[in-house]
Symmetry: C2
Subunit: 135 residues, 2 copies
DNA sequence: CTTGACTCCGTACTTAAGTACGGAAGTAAG
DNA sequence: CTTACTTCCGTACTTAAGTACGGAGTCAAG
C-alpha cells in the first residue's frame, strides 16, 4: 500500500514546506515529527508523509493552536481509541468555537471603531483611542 | 480642568487594573506609561489617567495588538493622526477577518470529524489527521 | 519605635517558538 | 581528488510579555 518515495533531504523538505531547516529539527526535538532512521553513515530522507505533517503543523498553528495542542491532535493519529479520539476532537471543537466567539466580538469592536473614526475626522480626539479606553 | 487625585500607589493601581505590579513596572520600562515624579524620598502616586492607560493597553492587547503596536497607537494619542490610527485598526480588522475565515473552516472540519468518528467505531484509522491535512 | 507590608530598583528567570553557530562528516560536481 | 555545499548534532542566542528575587527604603499601626 504505502508507496513512499522518501526522496527529500531535510533541506528539500524544509523548502517544500516553506520553513527553515532548523524548524524541522526543532519539531523533531519536540516530538512533533519522527526522525527517519538514517542509513548507517548516511543522511535521512523524507517523503510525502513528513511533508504533510509539517504542513499540518503549520496550518494548525496558523489557526491559533500551540505546538503543545498540535502534539495532542497528533496523538490521535493511530486511531486506536476512537472514543478517546472523539473526545479530544470534541474538546478541540469547543476550543475553536470559543476562539470564534472571541474573534467575532473583536471584529465587531474593530469594525465599529473604524466606522466611528471615519465619521469623526475633524474632531480633536481620536475616537478610537477614546473608545478603547472605555472598552 | 484636570482634577486628578493621584491617590493610588502602584499596588493599588495594579489591583484596580487587574494586573501584576511587575506588569506596571514593565510597561514603564517599555515606555508605554510614564513614571510619575516621586516626591523626594517618597513613593509614586497614580491617578485615573494611569488607570485608563493600563486598561487601554489591556483591551488593545485583547484586540490582538502587540505591545509595540500599542506603543505606536499611543504615540497618536493627541488625535492629530486619526487617519493613521484608523489605518492600523483597519489592518487589524483584516487580520481578524482572515483568522475568522480560517477558524470557521476548521470548525466545520472538526464538527464533521466528530460525527464521522462516532459513525466509524471499529475502523482501524481515525479519520481525523488525514481530513485535517486536506483542510 | 518597632514590626510588617509595601515601594523602588536592578537583575535574572520563564515560556513559546523558533534562529544561529560551529565543527565534523556525508555528498555531488568538476 | 578537491571544492563547495549539505547534513548532523549540540549548544546557545532571540523576541515577547511578563514573573520572580533580593536588598534597600518608606509608611502606617500598634
Amino acid at each position: 500500500m504505502n508507496e513512499l518515495p522518501e526522496t527529500l533531504t531535510i533541506g528539500g523538505l524544509a523548502k517544500a514546506a516553506g520553513v527553515n531547516v532548523e524548524t524541522i529539527r526543532f519539531y523533531q526535538r519536540k516530538g512533533l515529527m519522527r526522525e527517519p532512521d538514517r542509513p548507517p553513515g548516511g543522511i535521512r530522507r523524507y517523503g510525502e508523509a513528513a511533508l504533510a505533517r509539517v504542513r499540518f503543523i503549520k496550518s494548525a498553528q496558523h489557526l491559533g493552536f500551540s505546538l503543545d495542542e498540535i502534539a495532542d491532535l497528533l496523538k490521535l493519529e493511530d486511531g486506536s481509541h476512537c472514543t478517546e479520539a472523539r473526545e479530544q476532537a470534541e474538546h478541540k471543537l469547543a476550543d475553536v468555537r470559543a476562539k470564534l466567539a472571541d474573534l467575532q466580538r473583536i471584529e465587531k469592536v474593530l469594525k465599529e471603531l473604524v466606522q466611528r473614526c471615519c465619521a469623526a475626522s475633524g474632531e480633536v480626539r481620536c475616537p478610537m483611542i477614546q473608545a478603547l479606553q472605555e472598552a
